[in-house]
């Protein structure tokens, strides 16, 4: 078991600059989730960690060892591919024991290791099947099992759950969490599903266009997003961002009546999560209900606030109807620099 250190990591494919200087320490036993939009370089980073891609610049350390030039097979990392990459001509047992066979371990030892993991993952009845004879979820578990049998220093998961249906995915999320608690091995997990990120991670790293946007525990990313990108990427439904002006009287959203008290000054971007509103008659904003999405326990209101469109989450049952005008009070405000999108820090001592 070991941690990971990335120092100024760059990856270029000819002219394409994919990773633009990644600096990060991952402690031993951490569950780091890498999120970001499609094409931002998540898989590339993971493949650099695995050694399947050469690092163009910078250092990569696993534990204390610099591994830039170490072959993938010698890094003692295990990867679960999005496609699972199970060997179609080998049985589940042979798939799971493959790495140990390469390491020339005695057969008895391999069998014992495979049996133990198969038991944990409830794969015992499937051991003699070929991958083609398994369901998607079972294949996913076999791919996990194959990684676990190796007892690697680091697990690398590339969107391991994206091929599963919604219910199986939430089940497997729990399984992964349990697995991590039991093995206490460092895990780097790539996903573009922010629910997965929030539920699994001890720390999340948000990546956009090859640049790290923010790294931190899920709560911190949720409560104090470092910029508008993270603010909108983390949390569902995503945060409302509105152009506003701040002065002594408070913040006024462009084209909307009503000032809200806040320390930010000048032109800013104001962020409010849909869940951070209160519908109340003495609310500062007045908005028109355009559409209501009823989600069961909650309803998502799509509102017209002056020239802007915002969404607001309310609890069901709610008496609000489409076409109605309601008044709103935002409870938690996030202010960002309008030019850079960077969060405007709270004055010292203040808490939100």
């Amino acid at each position: 078991m070991a941690g990971l250190t990335m120092r100024g990591l760059h990856k270029r494919y000819g002219e394409t600059h994919v990773l633009k200087g990644i600096d990060l320490e991952v402690d031993n036993g951490e569950y780091l989730v890498l999120v970001g939009p499609s094409g931002c370089g998540k898989s590339t980073l993971l493949r650099c960690l695995a050694g399947l891609e050469e690092i163009s610049e910078g250092d990569l350390l696993i534990g204390e060892r610099r591994v830039n030039d170490v072959l993938p097979g010698k890094r003692n990392v295990a990867m679960v591919f999005q496609s699972y990459a199970l060997y179609p001509h080998l049985t589940v047992r042979q798939n799971m024991g493959f790495a140990l066979k390469i390491a020339k371990r005695p057969t008895a030892e391999i069998d014992a290791a495979v049996d133990k993991v198969a038991e944990q993952l409830e794969l015992v009845p499937l051991l003699d099947r070929l991958p083609g004879q398994l369901s998607g979820g079972q294949r996913q578990r076999v791919a996990m099992g194959r990684a676990i049998v190796r007892q690697p220093d680091v697990f690398l998961f590339d969107e391991p759950l994206s091929n599963l249906d919604a219910s199986l995915r939430s089940h497997m999320r729990v399984e992964l969490k349990r697995l991590h608690r039991r093995l206490e091995t460092t895990i780097v997990h790539v996903t573009h599903d922010q629910v997965e990120a929030l539920t699994l991670a001890t720390r999340i790293m948000v990546l956009n266009l090859g640049v790290v946007q923010q790294v931190g525990p899920p709560r911190e990313l949720f409560n104090r997003p470092a910029n508008t990108f993270v603010a909108q990427f983390i949390g569902s439904p995503s945060m409302n961002i509105l152009p506003a002006q701040g002065d002594e009287k408070g913040i006024v959203v462009d084209g909307v009546d009503g000032a809200i008290e806040h320390h930010a000054r000048g032109p800013i971007e104001l962020g409010v999560r849909p869940t951070d509103f209160e519908v109340t008659d003495d609310g500062v904003w007045s908005a028109n209900v355009d559409v209501i999405e009823r989600l069961g326990a909650e309803a998502l209101l799509h509102l017209e606030l002056g020239p802007h469109k915002i969404s607001v989450m309310v609890n069901e049952p709610t008496p609000i109807e489409m076409g109605q005008t309601i008044r709103l009070q935002p409870r938690v405000l996030h202010a960002f620099n309008r030019d850079t999108g960077v969060r405007i820090p709270e004055p010292a001592g203040a808490t939100s």
Partner: protein
């Protein structure tokens, strides 16, 4: 309205066309003349036709046919009435042509011919054809190098030796061909036709020893010379003497002179070559036999002869041809005419091809040093005896026919058995239309595959000898399978050839697959630049027709002038490897050629199959710590296998029957040892006494071997053994 009009127009056109055809009937006759002449001889023929038209108004149209295809074309087309009015051919095919009805007896002819010419075209007291020209070997020489040509062999060898060295050769001739050996044979008093032929006679042994001395030991003759090689050597002034015929003199780029062949110093006897007499024949079923005979007599007569002598450089048979001045230009014709007076008329003995085959076999062995003249002669005599053994006893066809009919009926009944089931009958009724769709394809399969196969298989139950077919039952098979004519270890036995064929197939397929697959794997590597260019280049050997490639490789393996020996010399003196003198070298030459031809197919198949293997499987293995070999062995190869297996089966069947490479590169040398079954079958059918039945039996056995192999391969594939 308009339709009626157009109909009447069409009718009118038809009538007009019919009228035109009618009018042509009255037009002067046109005579078609088939020949295999080229260059100046063909020019002379065209000129003669033009002159004849001017004089008589009769149109003669000469049609040239490639030399190699000539006799088979004549022998198939003429008896079926698809032939010309006139044919040009040599006297030694006359008896065959007469038997097949290809030629008609000659008509009136007042021309006088030189001695022997007329008699050569006689058969059973009747004359066929009109003698045109003599073809025989003479001693050609470069008059710039040789002023005083030798008249005996000692002087010839001494003069040749004096002109050998520095890339030049004193004497060039095809030392391993029986036709060129014949003068020495006659010069030592041996003979190969007539009632009492023995190839192990002391005279023949002495002749073989002499041939070896001239062709090898003296070092004056270039190795395995082809006519192209000899031609270019002579044109470059690098060959002082050439033993060849008037055909060699045609189109030379330097002055050439000739005299008759010398006497053999050891015996005092002249070295007499074989003589061929060419004639023009009236074809069987000619459209205008009378006119054809008139033209033939004219062409053979003084006027035609003058044109052929002047333009075509022919040594004409007509006595009244214009006299030849004593100049350098006419030297070759005069030498041929002089030689023709003493040369020995090429025998038309039906056993000759067998003697020829055995003799050439012995000659090659002696030249290679694989046998002493005595051993070679003894072997040749044995070989000749087996070849000229009469065909197997005729068998009673009745039991065979009964068995065939029973087997056929049994098969039919077996095929119809499912019809007892009413469901099946109903099913067939329901799918009537479907059967209709399949019908044309089924008929085509029957006509193109089944019928030829059955006919070919039926031929194997017959023996063919001198145009006679005899039903012999399974004798051909028994002779082959029990190896009655040869010990199993002889290259002529079926088992020897089978082992060679299997070795050939295994080594080839192994190399094709490993090289093809290796290249495909390399082409996939990310560091390869210009991938598309490499891929295209590597497919080229496959895109070139294989016989062209085979001929190129054959040239590259030439012992003195081949690129391969030059390369093996590593910049210095070329290596002196004689690629066709030992089994292992000749087999390797074939193998190299066929590997060159065969790997691209496997490469293309592998490239295709690799596309279907996800890259992340190999990456997963890489992460698991597998090295390149382990990855290939346990991940790539098992996944490639299913796609490669059918290609492997096809490739091995192709190789098993790869006639072109064997025939063109090693030609079975040495001593038929590198022959494979299919080329061996070809030799039995066309080179050794036209044993069609025997060859067909070979073909059936080849089919049997491949059938068993195919079944076995399928079984093994099903069981995942392979």
């Amino acid at each position: 309205m308009s339709r009626v009009k157009s109909l009447s127009v069409a009718l009118g056109l038809c009538l007009a066309a019919a009228g035109a055809v009618h009018a042509q009937d009255a037009a002067p006759v046109e005579l078609k003349l088939w020949h295999a002449y080229r260059d100046s001889e063909e020019q002379a023929l065209l000129e003669a036709a033009r002159v004849y038209k001017e004089q008589t108004g009769v149109q003669v149209t000469p049609i040239g046919i490639a030399f190699g295809a000539y006799s088979s074309k004549v022998e198939t087309a003429v008896p079926r009435g698809n032939g010309p009015d006139l044919l040009i051919g040599a006297h030694d095919v006359l008896s065959k042509w007469q038997r097949l009805g290809v030629v008609e007896p000659a008509g009136e002819d007042s021309t006088a011919y030189r001695a022997g010419a007329g008699a050569a075209l006689e058969l059973e007291g009747k004359r066929y054809g009109y003698p045109l020209a003599f073809k025989t070997l003479v001693l050609l020489y470069n008059p710039e190098l040789i002023q005083d040509p030798p008249t005996d062999t000692d002087a010839l060898l001494a003069a040749a030796k004096a002109h050998t060295g520095g890339g030049s050769f004193g004497l060039a001739y095809e030392a391993t061909a029986a036709y060129y050996f014949a003068p020495w044979m006659h010069g030592f008093g041996a003979k190969i036709s007539g009632d009492d032929v023995h190839l192990d006679s002391p005279e023949l042994i002495a002749a073989l020893a002499f041939a070896r001395r001239v062709g090898m030991d003296e070092g004056i003759v270039p190795k395995s010379p082809t006519s192209e090689l000899m031609g270019s050597l002579f044109d470059e002034g690098k060959a002082a003497f050439v033993i060849s015929g008037p055909w060699f003199a045609a189109g030379r780029k330097r002055a050439i002179a000739a005299i008759p062949l010398p006497t053999v110093s050891q015996t005092g006897l002249p070295a007499l070559p074989f003589l061929g007499v060419e004639g023009v024949f009236v074809a069987g079923q000619a459209k205008h036999p009378g006119e054809a005979a008139k033209f033939a007599a004219w062409l053979a007569g003084p006027e035609g002869a003058a044109i052929r002598q002047e333009l075509g450089g022919q040594a004409v048979a007509a006595k009244d041809a214009p006299p030849l001045p004593d100049t350098l230009e006419t030297s070759v014709i005069r030498a041929v005419l002089a030689q023709a007076e003493t040369a020995i008329l090429m025998p038309t003995d039906p056993q000759l091809p067998n003697v020829w085959e055995a003799l050439e076999d012995a000659l090659r062995k002696v030249m290679r040093g694989a046998a002493t003249p005595e051993e070679a002669a003894k072997g040749a005599e044995q070989y000749r005896k087996v070849l000229s053994r009469p065909p197997p006893e005729a068998a009673n066809p009745v039991p065979y026919v009964v068995i065939m009919v029973l087997v056929g009926l049994g098969a039919l009944v077996w095929l119809c058995l499912p019809l007892r089931d009413p469901n099946v009958r109903q099913e067939i009724k329901n799918k009537k239309v479907d059967y209709l769709w399949v019908f044309p394809a089924a008929v085509a399969m029957l006509a193109l595959v089944v019928v030829p196969f059955v006919a070919g298989a039926a031929v194997s139950l017959f023996a063919h000898s001198q145009g006679e077919w005899t039903f012999v039952g399974f004798s051909n098979f028994l002779n082959i399978v029990l190896s009655r004519d040869w010990p199993v270890t002889s290259p002529l036995s079926f088992y020897y050839t089978l082992v060679v064929t299997i070795l050939w197939t295994l080594t080839n397929v192994f190399l094709h697959v490993s090289i093809g697959m290796g290249l495909a794997l390399v082409l996939r590597e990310p560091w390869i630049r210009l991938r598309g260019v490499w891929r295209a280049l590597l497919i080229v050997p496959w895109a070139v027709p294989n016989y062209i490639t085979a001929l190129i490789w054959k040239m590259m393996f030439h012992v003195q002038y081949g690129a391969i020996n030059a390369l093996l010399g590593f910049g210095g003196e070329p290596a002196q490897i004689d690629w066709f003198s030992s089994f292992s070298m000749a087999f390797s030459a074939n193998l190299i050629t066929n590997t060159w031809l065969g790997f691209p197919f496997m490469m293309v198949v592998t490239l295709g199959a690799l596309q279907a293997i996800p890259r992340d499987l190999e990456e997963a293995a890489e992460l698991d710590g597998a090295g390149a070999w382990f990855r290939f062995r346990h991940v790539t190869w098992p996944l490639l296998k299913p796609a490669l297996l059918p290609a492997l089966v096809i490739g091995s069947v192709w190789t098993f029957n790869m006639f072109n490479v064997i025939y063109l590169v090693s030609g079975g040398q040495p001593d038929s040892s590198t022959e494979i079954l299919i080329s061996e079958a070809y030799r039995w059918a066309f080179k050794r006494d036209l044993r069609y039945g025997y060859a067909a039996a070979y073909a059936v056995l080849i089919f049997g071997v491949l059938f068993v192999y195919g079944r076995a391969a399928n079984k093994l594939a099903g069981k995942k053994v392979l």
